[in-house]
Amino acid sequence: MQDLLYFFQQLINGLTIGSTYALIAIGYTMVYGIIGMINFAHGEIYMIGAYTALIAITGLAALGIAWLPVILIVALVCAMIVSSSMGWAVERVAYRPVRGRHRLIPLISAIGMSIFLQNYVHLAQGSRNIGFPALIEGGFRFGSADSFQTSISYMQITIFITTLVCMTLLSLFISRSRIGRACRAVSQDLGMANLLGIDTNRIISATFIIGAALAAVAGLFLGMYYGSIDPLFGFIAGLKAFTAAVLGGIGSIPGAMLGGLILGVAESMTSGYLSGEYKDVVSFGLLILILLFKPTGLLGKPEVEKI
């Protein structure tokens, strides 16, 4: 019984962190699906989202507003607006001018952008860890009080539900809406979509904006869940999310979700049953294995001769 509770606790830990990986991974996977480039600055967009949310929360607290739903919604909206405009601006400044060149050029431009944004936040906000208030406290407990108890915090539940809602909305958006249809068309053949009257520049901008908005959601909730943010944490999270995207099949939205969850659970099970030191060994080893046996990732479709 104890062991089972322990297992469930690690599973919950893994699913929580996995769902945030998934939220960030969407940004990588959508951009890759549409223009075939890896947006390495995406982790920084996520970090900026977290900082914006923190600034908004602090601002509201200074105004004396303490009602939780208002704080959350305002912080979320602020973070999404700032991150989205950042995502849009990054695309305009760093990627559009080099689009269609050799693959390496936008990649290097992306890495440059990532370093720029990281250092910009370093200068603007300082390099220290900043504490993030835990707005949602408490949770459910299972098991008897004198032995091991499995606990699910309200925060974990919020993160999980938010991810599910975001993913569902995004899938509906992609499959039902006009812009979504245009996104799919652009991802199949950018040149042809252009010829058929789709404003591809607008669609690509939209992709960056959606990805950034989801990253901002992850930024707010992860900031609250972990309790501190620093200018470097976007980079590490971005790396993990990118791994999740590749694991699930880059370019595929359900793949990002699946990849994120697998990665999160693999990490927490490794630290739970083996040792925390092997966490990254296992998660990246998993990535190598999947790339060896299924190079397109778990849910990725085989590449249809893209130029």
Partner: protein, 370 residues
């Protein structure tokens, strides 16, 4: 035309040579190398504020043998690669005395360069025993060693009669070194170490680790590392109702842990150098810091101050600015400093340095235990 160019070149080079000479006579460059940016920059702030104060006060007193001290400040971000780069920069700048570095993992590679180039280094913060184990002639420190701090922590924990203890570290030279020393002390005392595990510095999610600690039912957790990670572990442990008492080295003992951990920092045990700023004979110096709006209570402020003072006194005693002579002077005499009487052994370690156990509070204050 040709001659005028020649004249010009001669004139310029002569004046450059003169300038250079004048410069060298009036100033002794002291390199200050530590993290100005990066996750542990607050320790760097302590180091820089202590060293700057010492340089200011020594210069106000007429300098060293009539020569003024000049600070050359560089940022190593506590990153070993960066440390090598800035060490080379100090070499290029003609610096012959360095106060730094801060993190052991930076100090070690940088000290290789200093030793090769004949530069004297005094680290005010690096506690890894390895740094002085290599028989270097020009490496000194104004702080104790992990091998001194670990036993203090280990003995304190075992005096509390724990049932099971977990030891966690950040896999870095400082954290793992000190964690190993604590483990060995506990084992010698017959205390069960239920868990000895590394985490990745920079990680944010410690929920798995906390769950594991809960499962292992430990009553004490020792963490070897710095405050950003421990702050998060404390906070996440509090959220998961883990009711163990945490303890850490001086790397976790600063007020930033309160902004991360909040109330969860209450009751944390920390081994720190004794509060030098509370000593009666330092009150004059403490006031000087306060007049500048700086806080002298950080663990590395007065050790950095002392590092500069030792370099200055070493130069005075040796009567030369040749680092090897200064090193010999430092080894041969005993010095009266804000951190007490300093005497060096052959390796460049202080013959005695005391660590004290403090209890940390959620408002950032601390009270000595015992």
């Amino acid at each position: 035309m040709k001659t005028s160019v020649k004249k010009l070149v001669t004139a310029v080079s002569a004046s450059v040579a003169l300038m250079g000479a004048g410069h060298a006579a009036a100033e002794i460059k002291i390199g200050i190398a530590g993290p100005v940016t990066g996750p542990v920059a607050q320790y760097g702030d302590m180091q820089f504020s202590g060293a700057r104060m010492a340089i200011e006060r020594i210069n106000a007193d007429g300098g060293v043998n009539g020569e003024m001290l000049e600070a050359v400040e560089v940022d190593d971000v506590c990153d070993p690669k960066q440390a090598v780069t800035v060490a080379n920069r100090l070499v290029n700048d003609g610096v012959r005395f360095v106060v730094g570095h801060l993190c052991s993992s930076s100090t070690q590679p940088a000290s290789d360069i200093y030793e090769d180039e004949g530069i004297l280094m005094v680290t005010p913060a690096s506690t890894s025993p390895d740094i002085t184990e290599r028989g270097y002639e020009l490496v000194f420190r104004t702080i104790g060693l992990d091998s001194m701090q670990g036993p203090v922590a280990g003995n304190h924990i075992s005096s509390l009669n724990p049932e099971r203890v977990a030891i966690v570290h950040d896999k870095q030279q400082y954290g793992e070194g000190i964690a190993t020393a604590v483990r060995d002390t506990l084992k010698d005392a017959g205390v069960e170490v239920a868990l000895f595990e590394g985490i990745t510095a920079g990680d944010k999610d410690f929920s798995s680790l906390v769950t594991k600690l809960k499962q292992a039912d430990v009553d004490y957790v020792y963490y070897g590392g710095y405050h950003p990670e421990l702050g998060l572990i404390l906070r996440q442990a509090r959220q998961a109702d883990l009711d163990a008492i945490f303890m850490g080295p001086e790397g976790v003992g600063n007020k930033d842990i309160n902004t991360i951990a909040g109330d969860a920092a209450e009751g944390l045990l920390v081994t720190l150098p004794p509060a030098f700023d509370e000593k009666a004979e330092n009150q004059d110096l403490v006031k000087a810091f306060q007049d500048k709006g700086e806080d002298p209570s950080g663990p590395f402020v007065l050790t950095s101050y002392t590092a500069v003072q030792l370099i200055a006194e070493g130069i005075e005693q040796a009567g030369s600015t040749e680092p090897f002579d200064v090193a010999a002077a430092l080894r041969s005499a005993s010095f009266n400093t804000p951190i007490g009487t300093v005497e060096y052994d052959e390796k460049g370690d202080m013959k005695s340095f005391e660590f004290v156990v403090y209890e940390w509070h959620s408002d950032g204050s601390k009270t000595p235990v015992n």
